[in-house]
């Protein structure tokens, strides 16, 4: 599954996208985040306030309970601030 990071989150993680494999089963967004957090301190710090981040799957806003599969594009970012 492709994961995109934007704005401050991209800056903290140090990349704008990466691809992970979540296998045949679908997973909740929150599970994906928890696995990323286990990687290292950087991820752990970047995701320490999951409620202040926003999540989108294939360009639609979703919450942490939404299920994703390897064919989805998950985007994670702070609340938008355009306009």
């Amino acid at each position: 599954m492709k994961i995109l990071y934007f704005a401050k989150l991209k800056q903290l993680i140090g990349k704008s996208e990466e691809t992970i494999c979540i296998g045949q089963k679908k997973k909740k967004v929150s599970q994906v985040i928890n696995e990323l957090k286990k990687r290292n301190d950087i991820y752990n710090f970047a995701f320490k306030e999951t409620n202040s981040l926003q999540y989108a799957v294939n360009c639609e806003y979703v919450d942490l309970d939404f299920f994703v599969t390897d064919s989805d594009e998950l985007a994670i970012f702070p609340p938008v601030s355009g306009g």
Binding site: L4, F6, A7, K8, K10, A56, C59, E60, Y61, A75, F77, P78, P79, V80, S81, G82, G83
Partner: protein, 149 residues
């Protein structure tokens, strides 16, 4: 019916002039221009960087527009939003709306701006002499919105 995301500077009046003449039978033309303010709480803003998740911004703005078009009868709209580096006093966003009567274009234009602020995937970073800071979404901007819609 146009949505433009562009790096390039733009002159609002060129767009408004063309839009008004394209919609010559509309009785009402609303427009809103958002510009970079040169100061934020007494700190001089040297520039801002606007990051964009373009594919999602397109999807979200179209969703907002579809929703608003069901509520308000308008003739046409134009949205222009810059991304990349923008200097103080330059335009960031332009919304222009044409309708037969004024209230429709007011409600559509203001609604589009309100939703854009909380749904369109743009992020601003302000650059100061002594560092940069990501701009937080304003609490107030979330309060204008009826998220149940």
């Amino acid at each position: 019916m146009q949505i433009l995301f562009q790096r390039k500077k733009f002159i609002e009046s060129d767009f408004i002039k063309k839009f008004s003449s394209d919609n010559k039978n509309s009785g009402a033309i609303f427009s809103f221009i958002g510009k970079v303010r040169p100061k934020n709480q007494n700190n001089n803003v040297l520039s801002i960087d606007i990051e964009l998740y373009e594919k999602m911004a397109q999807v979200q703005i179209k969703k907002i527009i579809n929703k608003l078009m069901k509520k308000h009868l308008i003739d046409d709209y134009l949205v222009v939003h810059r991304y990349g580096r923008v200097k103080p006093r330059e335009n960031i966003v332009l919304i222009v709306v044409a309708s037969q009567h004024r209230k429709e274009s007011f409600r559509f234009g203001e609604g589009l701006m309100d939703w854009l602020k909380v749904k369109a995937t743009f992020w601003k970073k302000e650059n100061f002499a002594n560092g940069s800071e990501w701009v937080n979404q304003k609490e107030a901007d979330r309060e204008f919105i009826d998220f149940s819609l």
